[in-house]
């Protein structure tokens, strides 16, 4: 092969072993004058002056002598060693095995060089034999790794077939040994995933760049790792599984049982969702009620998640698999916590106690509201209110409370029964129980919500009236067409009536504003409590517990990157590095694998909230799914 002479590795233990051939002066003519062999891919050329990196698996460091099998990545000048083929072997069979593996895994596996592990005194015959193998399995460059028994320092050589035509100059190639744990690299997943999932492309167009190429190579070469020493195959390999293929009975049983179980559960879930989608539930009053209750939202969310988990389709990529696993663990934890809550509730008849306490609490709240209204009808905080308006509003709200207390007393015999059945729903999950609690709070404070709406509407009307009459007072008018304020000449009687009305509204403002303020604060208090409950529900829904557990127990599975450690070094021997997996940080795990939550989040910023409060517009603290945006 007519390749121009290049420098080679100078990594021997003594000068006699080193085959130093200095590099030609200019890198450019080298590249240009190197004709690609067989006109093939640019993959066989090498980036000049890049240190040659040999990735060697730690499991093979104590293996017997043999051939190195792996993949050569020319863009980074690195050789990823996947396994060692031991003597005796027949070269044809080795080539057949490599062709099989290449076809199965689309990775360009080839014989990269020789590995020599000298256990006794140096065997010169073996050395010559190994060098002769370079003629049978041709590869550019040909790697020769050698290790003495009891010595920590290895010797590496990378030779090129050369035609000694060009004059030589200074510079020599170096070889760097990078040890990696094959099992961990195989099982780990890089974030962000650098390699495309597209596996139709051949080896040369694999788009993994940098170290992701190493991970990609090892992950795709599973076909090579399937044979172990106990197989009576023609070729004996050494790799991480060569002492026995790893498998787990539980995992195999689970895989076998997963099929029928998934099928059964999918049928059940489709029945449930068909039942819930039936027309009866779409009638107007019921559909309105369902859309406002957060319990229904939560149940729907859980149903969707379960349908996804138990679907009979296999997960297409690792992200989907993690998502399914996270959902399953989240549902299981939810149900477990719900059962704990259930057992706590049913012990010592707590439900009965709760039911007994509920009515007095509701009465107490109503009484406190009555006291508040009496206070407002008097001289609250020393302010002097407009007596007539005050009495009207106060009596109106008092009557409302009276109706409400009557309603609660009507319901009181059934409360315990209702609570008991509702408590049973805790076995569906803690999130469902919390949603029900939030809904019960909303129902019990319905009168506060009504008062808030009345107060807000009155106040809103007043504010709009005031702003319009204030413009009239100044001689201006709101131009609807142009959406701006224009000057306008009014008649005298228009001005007169307008000013009168303006004065009336201004003097009635403190009363209305005070009622509005009080009821808005109460409403905000209730909304805050409900918001906290929803926050807790969201937390249980969206926390990726399986990923967190994986990060805790098997940190190498979720890799943010790699880290290197320089091993003991001696001048003259090649540099040895240990490549370890750098696990993802917990915050990034949560961020990457966070499950999508219900979507019931407050959509206001603080500024818009204050603006709405000032102008008396109604605040809807969260939008349910399907609501149109304002």
């Amino acid at each position: 092969m007519g390749l121009v002479s290049r420098g080679t590795a100078a990594a021997g233990l003594g000068p006699a072993r080193a085959a130093v051939r200095p590099r030609p002066p200019d890198a450019v003519p080298n590249l240009i004058s190197t004709p690609p062999p067989e006109g093939a891919a640019p993959g066989s050329s090498r980036v000049p002056s890049m240190v040659l990196k040999a990735f060697f698996p730690t499991c093979c460091a104590s293996a017997d002598s043999g051939l190195l099998v792996g993949r050569w990545v020319p863009e980074q000048s690195s050789a990823v060693v996947l396994a060692v083929v031991h003597f005796p072997f027949i070269p044809i069979q080795v080539k057949e095995l490599l062709a099989q593996v290449q076809q199965a895994s689309r990775v360009g596996v080839a014989v990269l060089g020789t590995w020599c592990h000298r256990r006794q005194e140096p065997e010169e015959s073996l050395g010559h034999f190994l060098e002769g193998l370079g003629a049978i399995f041709s590869h550019e460059p040909w790697l020769q790794l050698c290790r003495e028994r009891g010595s920590k320092f290895w010797s590496c050589k990378a030779t090129h077939r050369q035609v000694p035509t060009c004059p030589a100059t200074s510079g020599e190639d170096q070889v760097m040994l990078v040890f990696y744990d094959q099992r961990k690299v195989l099982l780990s997943q890089l974030h962000p995933p650098a390699a495309l999932p597209d596996r139709q492309a051949g080896d040369a167009t694999a788009s993994a760049v940098g170290l992701a190429a190493v991970f990609d190579t090892v992950a795709r070469s599973e076909a090579l790792f399937r044979s172990d020493w106990f197989d009576e195959g023609p070729v004996r390999l050494s790799h991480w599984q060569s002492e026995g293929v790893e498998a787990s009975i539980l995992v195999e049983l689970a895989k076998w049982a997963a099929g029928p179980i998934c099928l059964l559960l999918t049928c059940l879930l489709s029945l449930v969702s068909a039942a819930s989608a039936c027309r009866m539930f779409k009638l107007w009053p019921l559909s309105f009620v369902w859309s406002k209750l957060s319990t229904c939202e939560q149940l729907r969310h859980r149903l969707e998640q379960l349908t996804l988990v138990f679907s009979t389709q296999k997960a297409k990529n690792p992200t989907q698999l993690m998502r399914k696993a996270n959902m399953l663990v989240s549902v299981l934890l939810d149900v477990a916590l719900g059962l704990v809550l259930l057992s706590w509730l049913h012990r010592k008849d707590r439900i009965g106690q709760l039911a007994d306490a509920l009515i007095p609490v509701a009465d107490h709240v109503a009484e406190e509201l009555q006291h508040l209204l009496q206070w407002l009808m008097g001289a609250p905080a020393g302010l002097k209110m407009n007596r007539a308006l005050d009495q009207v509003l106060g009596r109106f709200f008092l009557y409302h409370i009276h109706l409400w207390i009557g309603y609660i007393h009507l319901m009181s015999p059934f409360i315990e029964c209702i609570l008991w059945h509702v408590g049973l729903s805790a076995c569906l999950g803690l999130t469902v129980a919390l949603s029900i609690l939030s809904d019960i709070i909303a129902l019990l404070t319905f009168h506060i919500y009504c008062f808030y709406v009345y107060g807000a509407r009155l106040y809103c009307l007043k504010i709009y009236g005031l702003s319009s009459l204030w413009r009239l007072f100044r001689g201006k008018k709101w131009n609807v067409l142009r959406q701006r304020v224009d000057s306008c000449s009014y008649d005298l009687d228009q001005l007169f009536i307008g000013t009168l009305l303006f004065t009336i509204l201004v003097f009635l403002l403190p009363t209305t504003a005070l009622y509005y303020l009080v009821f808005t604060l109460l409403r905000l208090l209730v909304v805050t409590v409900q918001g906290l409950i929803h926050l807790l529900v969201d937390l249980v829904n969206s926390l990726p517990l399986y990923s967190l557990g994986l990060r805790l127990c098997r940190p190498y599975r979720l890799a943010a990157g790699v880290k290197f450690r320089v091993l003991e070094h001696e001048a003259g021997s090649p540099l040895r590095l240990l490549m370890q997996i750098n696990p993802l940080s917990y915050s990034r795990v949560v961020h990457t694998y966070r499950l999508p939550s219900c979507g019931c989040h407050p959509k206001h910023s603080w500024g818009s909230l204050c603006r709405k409060l000032f102008f008396g517009e109604l605040i809807y603290p969260w939008r349910q799914r399907g609501d149109k945006q304002d």
Binding site: A27, V51, K563
Partner: protein, 188 residues
């Protein structure tokens, strides 16, 4: 080859720079920050405990004292594990990448590795920090979209904050190694 030199950081504290030359293509720089001083630790502990004792005399509840002890212990453990960095190491390997490691006082190590393909250059930048103008060493990362752009600036030695003389030493060594990268690419 290993040698150690003493420098100072921007506040005047003493730093020790340890240089290891493993091979012509691999170098390591280790900056050791000043350790946690017994004086400041005692001062903080005494302040917290005096405040707790004052609260105790006010409210006659001994839980305040136990709470103060717990807070001090937890605070110290949290500080050693999450805040106090003892050593910052920069490992630069030709044609592999640059690795930064921070070792905390409790032994925890946090490592970041940047591949050489993403590194555009290592430079010394100026920055305005409160009322001072300081120098810091940083790595410029290549922009995948625009070939001559810089997508990110990664500052180095952020908790040690050495002065310019120390930075120049590290910078010269890094540039020697990075020169191997740049030579073939410019000739192409």
């Amino acid at each position: 080859m290993e040698d150690e030199q003493s420098f100072s950081d921007i506040c005047g504290g003493r730093l020790a720079l340890q240089r290891r030359y493993y091979s012509p293509s691999c170098r390591e720089f280790c900056l050791s920050c000043p350790r946690i001083s017994l004086r400041s630790l005692t001062a903080v502990t005494c302040t917290v405990w005096l405040a707790a004792y004052g609260l105790f005399t006010l409210c006659e509840n001994s839980m305040v004292l136990s709470a103060a002890i717990f807070i001090t212990l937890l605070g110290l453990l949290g500080y050693l594990h999450f805040v106090k960095i003892d050593q910052e190491t920069l490992l630069i390997i030709d044609s592999l990448g640059i690795q930064m490691t921070s070792s905390y006082a409790s032994g925890k190590e946090s490592t970041t590795f940047i591949e050489m393909g993403k590194v555009k250059d290592v430079v010394i930048n100026e920055a305005i920090y409160m009322q001072k103008v300081i120098y810091y060493l940083c790595i410029l990362l290549k922009d995948p979209v625009e070939p001559h752009g810089v997508s990110q600036v990664v500052p180095l030695f952020q908790s040690a904050k050495p002065r310019l003389d120390c930075l120049i030493e590290v910078y010269k060594s890094c540039q020697e190694i990075l020169a191997h990268q740049k030579a073939p690419s410019t000739s192409l």
